[in-house]
């Protein structure tokens, strides 16, 4: 059983890592209105956070937002790069979330086949 006292040791460890962190300014936004939630956006969001933690990436924020306006393509995830460039991923599941972190966030390579543009071509 976990105890809140464990937070102190997580904090100590995280603070020592914090020195090494830089702020890339990349942001990930997950559509989490009723439509997104019903389509499975919540586990996608926690998978994104989990994957960042596993890889020790602390300079990318993951937040939810309201309806992105295309409910049929939910769950939707937007990755906004340092320069403001936005890539919209559609019908994201937990496996695709892992790919977005490893390919787009870590290697800087957009997962073209998961984007809204690819969905439009189908």
């Amino acid at each position: 059983m976990k105890s809140l006292a464990e937070l102190e040791s997580i904090k100590k460890k995280a603070m020592s890592d914090l020195v090494a962190r830089n702020t890339s300014g990349k942001r990930i936004v997950v559509g989490m209105a009723t439509c997104g939630i019903a389509a499975g956006a919540r586990p996608v969001m926690t998978q994104l956070i989990e994957e960042l933690r596993t890889r020790g990436i602390e300079d990318v924020s993951v937040t939810m937002t309201g309806c992105l306006g295309l409910c049929r393509l939910e769950p939707m995830v937007e990755v906004i790069d340092e320069d403001g460039t936005k890539v919209t991923y559609v019908k994201v599941d937990e496996n695709k979330a892992k790919r977005i972190i490893s390919e787009h966030i870590v290697n800087g390579k957009v997962c073209e086949d998961l984007t809204i543009a690819a969905a439009d071509r189908k």
């Binding site: 009723t34 439509c35 956070i49 933690r53």
Partner: protein, 183 residues
């Protein structure tokens, strides 16, 4: 929605949208009386009496992307299917409380699902709000988790740190299992 915790995520984001700084979720399971009570309380801007009257109507929404809002109507349906009701109290500039209840042993009752995931998503997105999670049952006692308490313990480490968020998720999951296990 396949889980009660997904309905709750939806209701809780309404509180965020209403500008609440303090949002609590109370769940009380009385196994003996076959009763599950869910309550979301916030100190947001509240609703006007007119809006409050229409809020269970799917054609009422504050969203601007389209004209249908389904959060409250879906939650109402989930409760009513299980012999329960939804009741909403709201006062403008004071806050809103959404109550729902269900029979625990109703065949149509959704599983509680993952409250840990629900709060990891909320706290990660809205780290400046105070969230309180109170879980209670007639058989296993009470558990209270609050972001104010967590913040005190982590000092100037942001609560959005992924290690902290995943700890909160796992911690709430365990508390849910301990207090509401099986529901």
């Amino acid at each position: 929605m396949r889980e009660i915790s997904l309905h709750l995520l939806d209701i809780l984001t309404n509180s965020v949208a209403a500008g609440a700084t303090r949002i609590s979720l109370d769940i009380y399971a009385n196994n003996k009386d076959d009763s599950l009570i869910l309550k979301v309380t916030d100190n947001g801007k509240g609703m006007s009496p007119d809006f409050l009257r229409s809020v269970t109507d799917p054609f009422t929404t504050t969203r601007t992307t389209r004209k249908v809002g389904l959060g409250i109507p879906l939650f109402k349906e989930a409760c009513e299917l299980c012999g329960g009701k939804v009741r909403i109290e709201s006062k403008q500039n004071a806050g809103t409380t959404v109550y729902g209840n269900m029979r625990i042993r109703s065949i149509d009752r959704l599983p509680m699902g993952d409250l840990g995931d629900t709060f990891a998503a909320l706290i990660g997105s809205y780290p400046d709000r105070d969230f309180v999670v109170r879980l209670q049952s007639d058989t296993a006692g009470i558990s209270i988790t609050s972001t104010a308490d967590i913040r005190k313990r982590i000092g100037n480490l942001p609560i959005t740190d992924t290690h902290i968020l995943m700890f909160i998720r796992d911690y709430i999951r365990e508390q849910q299992q301990r207090i509401l296990g099986g529901i």
